[in-house]
């Protein structure tokens, strides 16, 4: 891409006392794209995003947002940002509409309150006190306020946590609509499905560093596909083939595993070719491959595989898929 990135970060560090939560992160976000920041709890996602939002100064490296230092030159950029924090509150005694009008009054370019509440499906709740809203409704009000200023750069920190599946999909559609209209988004999320659905690019953080980044296809493409089946003979009895009995598979990774129920699992980097070989092998021996399941890797698999192989694995790690 030729244009200067909207977010340009090099070697960013953030230290709390002796603990360094962000340890040299590089990240570029270009106009109109959505970059998803993934990572386990404690990986440093929120600490890092706060640097880009300009809520805290970096203890090292450079952070530029729209060409400015977002912390020291916050006045210059804040009107172009929309920020949905993981934890920001409301005054429970104000109604939804009053809360939205107050926020609109503090923005330089607010969109009409009714439109914004409509976009997140809160029109019918406009006159309800915020204290009476459900968790999911509060999250949608959060989203409404973050998008109200028609931001160039939108930060979404766990935007769909606590939402039911339908509201989650509606949120995704809203975000997709904003992307189509040219908004740039930096998303942090626990939900890999959300990143797969929305993200142009993904950056995975671990222990304060970006350990992998690229498009969903890049990250998933490097991960082997899976094939699973139970082998049965002509009489229908399960057969557990030894490794030597299987045909030679060109893309196979590791040794095939057999679980207690006799189900055989293997991983391959050549799904089409190896599946063809397996089917021919079964045909020739009059074997049935029951419950055959062959699938390309998902982002979740890639994420979990990466997590397993990493020594700096956080003990509090928790990934909701």
């Amino acid at each position: 891409m030729t244009s200067e990135p909207i977010v340009h970060v090099r070697g960013a560090r953030r230290r709390y006392g002796t603990f360094e939560a962000v340890r040299g992160v590089d990240l570029d976000v270009h106009r109109g794209e959505l970059v998803a920041l993934l990572g386990t709890n404690g990986a440093g996602k929120t600490s890092f995003v706060e640097l880009v939002e300009g809520l805290a100064p970096a203890s090292g490296g450079t952070v530029r947002v729209l060409g400015h230092d977002p912390y020291r030159e916050r006045r210059q950029v804040v009107g172009s940002l929309g920020i949905m924090l993981q934890s920001a509150g409301f005054s429970g005694d104000l109604t939804v509409a009053e809360t939205a009008r107050t926020w609109a009054g503090t923005l330089s370019r607010p969109r009409p309150v009714d439109d914004v509440l409509g976009a997140v499906g809160l029109t019918h709740r406009a006159d309800v006190r915020v204290a009476s809203l459900s968790g999911g409704e509060k999250r949608r009000l959060d989203l409404a306020l973050a998008t109200m200023g028609d931001p160039e750069l939108l930060f979404l920190d766990e935007p769909t946590t606590g939402l039911d599946p339908e509201s989650r999909r509606a949120t995704w559609r809203l975000v997709q609509g904003m992307l189509e209209a040219g908004t740039t988004v930096l998303l942090t999320t626990h939900y890999l499905e959300e990143a797969e659905e929305l993200a142009d690019r993904i950056a995975i953080m671990q222990a304060g560093r970006v350990v992998r980044s690229g498009s969903v296809a890049d990250i998933v493409g490097a991960e082997p596909a899976r094939v699973e089946f139970v082998v049965r003979n002509a009489a229908g009895s399960p057969v557990v083939p030894g490794a030597a009995d299987l045909p030679s598979l060109e893309g196979i990774v590791d040794v095939p595993q057999v679980d207690r129920t006799g189900r055989l699992r293997l991983r391959t980097t050549s799904l089409q070719g190896d599946l063809h070989t397996l089917l021919q092998w079964a045909e020739a021996r009059q074997l049935r491959l029951d419950d055959l399941d062959a699938r390309s890797a998902s982002l979740e698999q890639a994420f979990l595989a990466m997590d397993d192989t990493d020594d700096t694995h956080d003990e509090t790690a928790e990934v909701a898929a």
Binding site: G89, S91, L107, G121, E166, A181
Partner: protein, 287 residues
């Protein structure tokens, strides 16, 4: 939930225009924040009673104790105005605002405002506007009431009265911000506001000016430098022309000269309040 998507103005350069230097956007933001704080005040019965009834009730009590007899002198009216102003500033501005800042912080509303376009001082000012309006209205109504019921004071220097109320509000807003940082919960704000109220109120000059020799004189001198005292001194001087030593001044110029020390004390406490607010004010709950 609908899938209506916003249409945004693609001209990125256009959005930066019209913002920045001018004070008007700041005032607009303060007005928006003040409006919501006013709604919250109206919906919080404790704070509302504190704001609207406590100061006039104190005045009623004060005048009942003070005799209700033949002492309806020229000094009685201004004293009652002072009681009203001091109670309004102490309870509505200082106490209620401390509680409001703690409440907004604990419900993570301050944190939300911080990520928006408002500056820290705009956020603090927005919350303070309703308290200021209530205190100002009570003082104004008190002056009208006293002028009708008693002999109207000469109002030698109304400017000093304005300085007293506005300056007192700014000082107590800063002190409220600082105090809120030392209060973990709304309930504990009752304790953290206690020192200023209990130490400063007796020295505020409502119980006599403390002139003369001996202990009273020493206490009077100390009292001059306590935070609420310059407010009563300036109000008295502005309303009646009577200075801290009990001399009657009749010209505007004389009262300006006589009010200088009080203005300095007020400014000093405001500076202390601002420094303390910078040091102690917290914008999100302790974790």
């Amino acid at each position: 939930m609908t899938t209506t998507t916003p249409t945004r103005n693609p001209s990125a350069s256009g959005r930066a225009a019209g913002r920045g230097g001018s004070a008007a956007p700041g005032l607009r933001r303060i007005a928006a924040l003040a409006r919501s704080e006013l709604l919250l005040l109206v919906r919080n019965r404790t704070a509302l009673v504190n704001a609207l009834l406590l100061p006039p009730a104190t005045v009623g009590l004060f005048s009942a104790i003070n005799g209700g007899g033949d002492d309806a002198s020229a000094a009685a009216g201004p004293l009652l105005v002072n009681v009203l102003t001091i109670m309004a500033l102490a309870m509505v501005v200082y106490y209620n605002l401390t509680v409001a800042y703690v409440a907004r912080r604990e419900e993570l509303v301050l944190k939300r405002y911080l990520v928006g376009e408002s500056s820290r001082s705009e956020i603090l000012a927005g919350a303070a506007v309703p308290a200021f309006v209530v205190a100002l209205a009570q003082t104004a109504l008190g002056i009208v009431a006293v002028s009708v019921l008693f002999e109207a004071p000469p109002f030698t220097n109304p400017l000093l009265m304005v300085i007293a109320v506005v300056g007192g509000t700014v000082m107590l807003t800063a002190l409220a911000a600082a105090t809120s940082g030392l209060s973990r919960t709304v309930e504990s704000a009752q304790l953290t506001t206690f020192p200023l109220l209990i130490v400063a109120l007796p020295f505020a000059g409502l119980l006599g000016s403390g002139t003369g020799d001996g202990v009273a004189g020493v206490l009077g001198t100390i009292g001059t430098f306590t935070p609420l005292r310059p407010i009563t001194d300036l109000m008295t001087l502005g309303m009646t022309g009577i200075d801290r030593d009990g001399r009657l001044l009749t010209t505007f110029g004389e009262t300006v000269a006589a009010g200088r020390l009080s203005v300095l004390v007020l400014l000093a406490w405001t500076a202390i309040g601002v420094l303390a607010a910078r040091r102690f004010m917290r914008w999100e709950p302790r974790r």
